[in-house]
């Protein structure tokens, strides 16, 4: 079986500015990010024949294609479950291109989450199953749902707020190196973290991602075509989605082991098809809507054992020069929260050697989508 290993590469990335509020529409931002990514790749919009995005993306394929002047599309795909779909957009395009269904794919996400509505405030659409079992009791927001798992995790494995602070700090330190990051000029201290307001105990303000307006896109072509592109190709080495048996989304309270989330099933497939192991990963971009997702993902993707994810963050392990530098653009916690698409583009920057917090000689990168919902992940290599 040929598979998709190294058969495709990311050859272009693009992004808009990130801000709490941008004047342009989501549609305009999507077009800007897509055109920037195609320009970066040196590929004309008319050559694009495949698109992939999230089901939550509000600008549809027809709008994108007619606005930026794409060619005839032969493949288009949307992935569900919010931030869990980020890496799957690239995975779907890689599969389509490797199997000959398309030649030039663009994945994107445009979102005005900074100035737009908070999804949990919509009381109409979220009350049927499973919300009838959770929301009437005041478990209203993703922060409450993940906070519940975080409290149990802390109880079972002795994780502390200092461990969660390690995550927030590593992301903030990288954002402080990244002029495009929302938190570029705003350092974080332990004192600020420990005295900040609660959102849902045990999670405080700094355990929660940003609320951002912005858009990003990337361009995927075959490995052969990639060699002729303007930038150094970043190969899609392995890709996986994960929806474990008896999983319940962010309210994963109803199975034998609620703390074993989708990361574990995505990881099994991801590593099965890879030529390297977690020990060989030079840098990781791990979905960080909430700080506890990092220890849970470190365990799921095999960087440490069950219950060891919190301890893994000690001693500067997540910082540049540490055991596993993460979220080197600042992540969702401190660069921008655009459903994890900035993590994909930052992975590409690392393997091009152009990150603002470059890991010297980085040749392999893990990128993950949202843990705690049906998820996806990519292994990229230079």
């Amino acid at each position: 079986m040929a598979g998709i290993k190294d058969a495709t590469a990311v050859v272009g990335i693009g992004q808009t500015p990130f801000a709490k509020q941008l004047p342009e529409s989501e549609k305009a931002l999507a077009c800007r990010a897509i055109l920037a990514a195609l320009d970066d790749a040196g590929i004309a919009p008319a050559e694009v024949d495949a698109l992939a995005s999230y089901t939550m993306e509000e600008t549809d394929e027809v709008e994108v294609a007619k606005a930026v002047g794409l060619g005839d599309l032969s493949f288009f795909s949307k992935v569900g479950f919010g931030g869990g779909g980020s890496c799957a957009t690239v995975a779907h395009l890689a599969g389509a291109i490797a199997s000959g269904q398309a030649t030039v794919g663009v994945a994107w996400r445009s979102r005005k989450r900074g100035s737009g509505p908070r999804p949990w405030k919509n009381t109409d659409v979220q009350l049927p199953t499973p919300a009838q079992w959770t929301r009437p009791f005041g478990l209203l927001r993703p922060a409450d749902e993940i906070g519940m798992l975080a409290r149990r995790y802390m109880h079972e494995y002795g994780a502390t707020r200092d461990h969660l602070f390690n995550v927030a700090l590593a992301c903030r330190n990288r954002a402080n190196q990244n002029p495009a990051a929302i938190m570029y000029e705003r350092p974080l201290t332990r004192e600020m973290y420990m005295t900040s307001r609660w959102i849902s105990e045990p999670l405080c303000l700094f355990d929660n991602c940003l609320e951002t307006d912005g858009a990003l896109a990337c361009v995927i072509v075959s490995a052969e075509r990639a060699r002729d592109c303007r930038r150094r190709p970043v190969y899609v080495h392995s890709a996986a989605q994960g929806l474990p048996a008896q999983h319940h989304g962010m309210v994963n309270y109803w199975n034998d082991d609620p703390l074993t989330g989708p990361a574990w099933s995505a990881a099994r497939h991801l590593w099965k098809h890879a030529d390297f192991t977690p020990e060989d990963v030079d840098v990781a971009q791990i979905y960080d809507a909430f700080t506890p997702l990092i220890p849970l993902s470190l365990e799921g993707y095999g960087f440490c054992g069950r219950g060891e994810g919190a301890a893994f963050t000690e001693g500067g392990a997540l910082e540049i020069g540490g055991l596993l530098p993460i979220n080197t653009g600042g992540g969702g916690l401190s660069e921008a929260y655009v459903h994890g698409f900035n993590l994909i583009n930052e992975g590409v920057k690392q393997l091009r050697g152009t990150s603002t917090a470059q890991v010297p000689g980085a040749a392999t990168c893990l990128v993950t989508a949202g843990e705690g919902v049906p998820t996806s992940a990519l292994l990229l290599r230079a």
Binding site: R118, K121, T123, L127, P128, T129, P130, A131, Q132, W133, T134, R135, P136, F137, G138, L139, L140, R141, A143, D144, G147, M148, L149, R151, R152, H155, R197, W198, I199, S200, E201, P202, L203, Q246, H248, V251, Y253, W254, N255, D256
Partner: protein, 149 residues
């Protein structure tokens, strides 16, 4: 003293699978869906049994006793009716006779008491609790009180 407004809290939106739970709740009973063929309990309710694929189910009466599996203390921003009572608690209870069956709820000082009626310091994982039903917008919903020693 301002009284809290239970009426503005969200009500469960029923679907075919979950409706019997709320009908039994209206009678003051905590019942969980069980497969009529293999006997396995399942929650949340669903049309068929993931173990044996039978579409036949019954609703088995529980003792209403359980333990706190985890909890959070939400603070604003929240929907107005919840912000009014914040910080309050939301808990997950594992049922005494079926620890893998867990229910989200609230620990309160009595069935009619507000969501913030138990001090956050009194919450702890493993605490023994007992179900007690209260009425919200004409629907009977479970609350949880600490089991007396």
């Amino acid at each position: 003293m301002k009284t809290y407004t239970n009426e503005a809290l969200l009500s469960p939106v029923l679907d075919d699978d979950g409706a019997p739970f709320w009908q039994y709740a209206a009678q003051g009973e905590l019942r969980i869906q069980a497969c009529s063929d293999c006997g396995e309990l399942r929650f949340p309710p669903r049309p068929c049994c993931p173990h044996c694929h039978s579409f036949e189910s019954e609703w088995r009466k529980m003792s209403g006793r359980g333990r706190v599996w985890s909890y959070v203390i939400p603070h604003p921003p929240l929907l107005p009716a919840y912000a009014e009572q914040a910080p309050y608690n939301a808990i997950v209870v594992e049922l005494a006779e079926a620890p893998r069956i867990r229910l989200v709820g609230n620990l309160v000082s009595g069935p009619e008491a507000p969501l913030n009626s138990v001090l956050p310091e009194r919450l702890r994982i493993g605490a023994r609790v007992q179900v007690a039903f209260t009425e919200v917008n004409g629907m009977s919903v479970p609350r949880w009180v600490l089991e007396r020693a």
